[in-house]
Amino acid sequence: MNLAAIQRLLALSLLAFAAVDVRAASVAEVIDTTQPKMVKIYGAGGFNRLEAYQSGFLISAEGHIATAWSYVLDTDYITVTLNDGRRFEAKLLGADPRLELAVLKIEATELPFFDLNAAATAESGTRVLAFSNLFGVATGDEPASVQHGVVAVKTQLDARRGVFETPYRGSVYVLDAMTNNPGAAGGALINQRGELVAMLGKELRSAQNNIWLNYALPIEELRGSVSQILEGKFRPTDEEPKLKPDEAIDLAALGLVLVPDVLERTPPYVDLVRGGSAAAMAGLRPDDLIVFVGENLVHSCQGFRDELAHIERNSTLKLVLMRGQELVEVEVPAAEGDRP
């Protein structure tokens, strides 16, 4: 994708082509006022195909910068280059690993900036411009690269378990432009009026369909953490967000036996329901195919076990079964699991 992504860097050709001068003029104005708010960030990396640079944008006149939290910032020597080419050493004020957000500070004044409180929201079809230093192509006083596209949809990254490997659990804007490239994380997404909408995320690939995802984090998701960091109140939670319960439901406790898991993707068919078990009470039958656990589609025996591992033992389990060609919903009552 990366080589082609460079080629796709034709920024505004389509827009200029599509609309008359009115549009070109207004886009040019928006870009002119946005560029001075963009910064290039340099730090750790530069080996193992890990780039030592990323993007960021100013969020105060005194040199506060929002960017993505990444290994690039994992050094005592972070430098920031402003749009006008001035270079500064930057201090890491704080980071929220959960949002993959970091705030830097440089010693400067009277800088143009984005007011996070004036940020806008977007929806499917909203036209956007993405500003970033993708592939580190700009240096010194070269302005950031501009890409255009629309918001494809606003969605939750964690809506389907195991699809995206990222600690971020909130909503994102999925973009129809190739924005998420090396060095682009921390860039700014703005709407046609020049209002800040979101911060570009890292490179991310869907485990579900192997497709690279271009996404940005809505400013309203970041605002709280940014102000906490600025006020010095931010306390990063050491503990990882709790993903699995201490004691989860398992098949034995339900009284359910699936068909032998012989294939990589054995469909989760019920082989046996133990008499008097929770599964039997819920009305499960041999040959039922389990298709959903709650809202999550399960593809295989293994997928079903993985889903169960996320559900507290003493809770009710909602299943959708396929029985013949009919979809059947059942609720399996909490089982006090007498293990065989």
């Binding site: 499917s124 596209g149 949809v153 190739m178 469909p267 959903f292 295989s300 396929m322």
Partner: protein, 666 residues
Amino acid sequence: MSRPYYKSWIAPLLFVWALCLLTTQVGAADEPLAELEEQAIKAAVERVAPSVVRIETVGGLERVGELLVGTGPTTGLVVDSEGYIISSAFNFAQKPDSILVTLPSGKRQAAQLVSTDRSRLLVLLKVEADEPLTPAEAAPQSEVRVGQWAIAVGRTFEAERPNASVGIISAKDRIWSKSLQTDAKISPNNYGGPLVDIRGRVLGVLVPMSPQETEEVAGVEWYDSGIGFAVPLETVLRNLPRMKEGKDLHTGLLGVSFKASDLNAKVAEIAVAAPTGPAFKAGFRKGDRIVEVAGQAVERHAQLKHAMGPLYAGENVRVVALRGDERIDREVTLAEKIDPYVTPFLGILPMRPVGKAEDADAKGIAIRYVYPDSPAAKAGLQAGDRVQSIAGAKVTTAADLREQLQPLTPDESVALEALRGDQTLLVNATLATLPESVPGELPPAHDSAALAAADVAKPATGLVPIKLPEFENACQALVPDDFRADVPHGLVIWLHAPGGSKDEELVALWKPLCEKYDFILLAPKSADATRWQPTELGFVRRAADAVAKTYSIDPTRIAVHGHQAGATMAYLFGVTNIDLVRAVAAVDSPLPRLSQLPQPDPVNRQAFYTTLATKSEQSAAVEAGIERLRALKYPVVVQGVGEQARYLTAEELDGLMRWLDSLDRI
């Protein structure tokens, strides 16, 4: 140029303009055009949204071919109110056990796969919906202009909201006139969904496609690359009644092939009309020049592909061809598949003429060897006999004889006229299939009197370097010392195993064989001695062409022979150079997993030779390759080498050379 351009923009602009006038909260004066366009795009997505459903699949294969297939939700388009939904075949390539469609109300419903369109890579699903469904409205194809807005819509991220990508129509009539092309971002995130115009009318159904390949997963590597395809919804709706009947649709075939693989080649002159194909059955023959298909004038090969592309098997099409001045105008019922061509076998080896052999016409084709138990043997022909005519047609060269046999099928009976001394023989032979064994010792291929008489110039012989300045690879040809230009030689292209090959060993092994069997050995070397790269196939071809330019080469006896990775290359070289390579001899390597093997070509015949070790790790793969080749009706010689894989013994290599010497069999 200027007019279509103007037209392409006027419709959406007018629409935006109309929107300005109609929408009350929008004033034309204070809203920039771009914002109005944004609103129009959102309105278009909203309009089609009720017809765009989310599809989830359960079970099925993890991989299709080389591609890891995802299990994410996919998209479908409602095409009528009875619950029929069209989607991309890509989404179902993994053959799922169950298909679930989320209806607009949010209710999930099991769906049945009704039929598949293998030409346009679509599937038709059916759900028993107990709620009203909204069929999509098709945009008239006649109004579609390159440059107009095109919005790709999927429903993969959120069940409640569609996801959209905005672009323009990049081209029409792509993929042999089967699809529209767009620069909107097309990927598994919207395959199966609609491409809509600025009014929300459906232009087409999004599918991955490739002009060269035809599998469900072809073209997926182009996802999000600014190139995507959509099958016009109008076409889909036209074929819907047939698909609803549960009939799979297939690309329609004429059963003819053409000399030039170059699509720009001018006239579509039939090189081969497969006797099993519908064109042949309708009366078209080799040499006929196709000038019109389905009412479209055809001048170049590519035009023929465009005329044929949209047609399905079972459809009737009018084909007009010229045979000399005669105009042949026939209705042809296109076929779903053409039975593989099987080369008919008479059972003789011809004597090879020396030089131009000007008086050959008078005497016919001298028989060098008659295969035991072959049709020729059963008919009573003997070595030394001269074939004069076949099926009533006079033949003077081996090529003539081959050409006359070409349209015949094995098991067909054919009348032959031959001379034995002064006596004329009239015999009938029932043709057979090519032998799959190494022949025994063969008599000389040339008349010794003719060889003695000629006095010709000799080009360089011995180990000759072949220099190709644009390639870094080294390459040598081993030319027998007794080579002479009036005796065309066979060519063995030897692709060494990883580790390369030493010159002295090469010469010691091959020199006697080349002299004995009239072959030139061409030994290209991989740039990296430890491995071959598929990209080096081009270099091998250039080297072979260079040899054929300097030395007289018999086109019926060009073979590529390789060991281990060299044998994998040999297979690849063979199937990608069918115009050159007549035989592939592979030692210790299975047939590589090619997505598509060419069908046997009556003109460009190919035969295969492979070793088989009963207990090697590769044996199952080698056997699978043999089976695959034989299923296509290629002749395959299998040389057993015992339990473990190894290179050929001197005796086996001599046998291989005998087999290559017999490639000009008829």
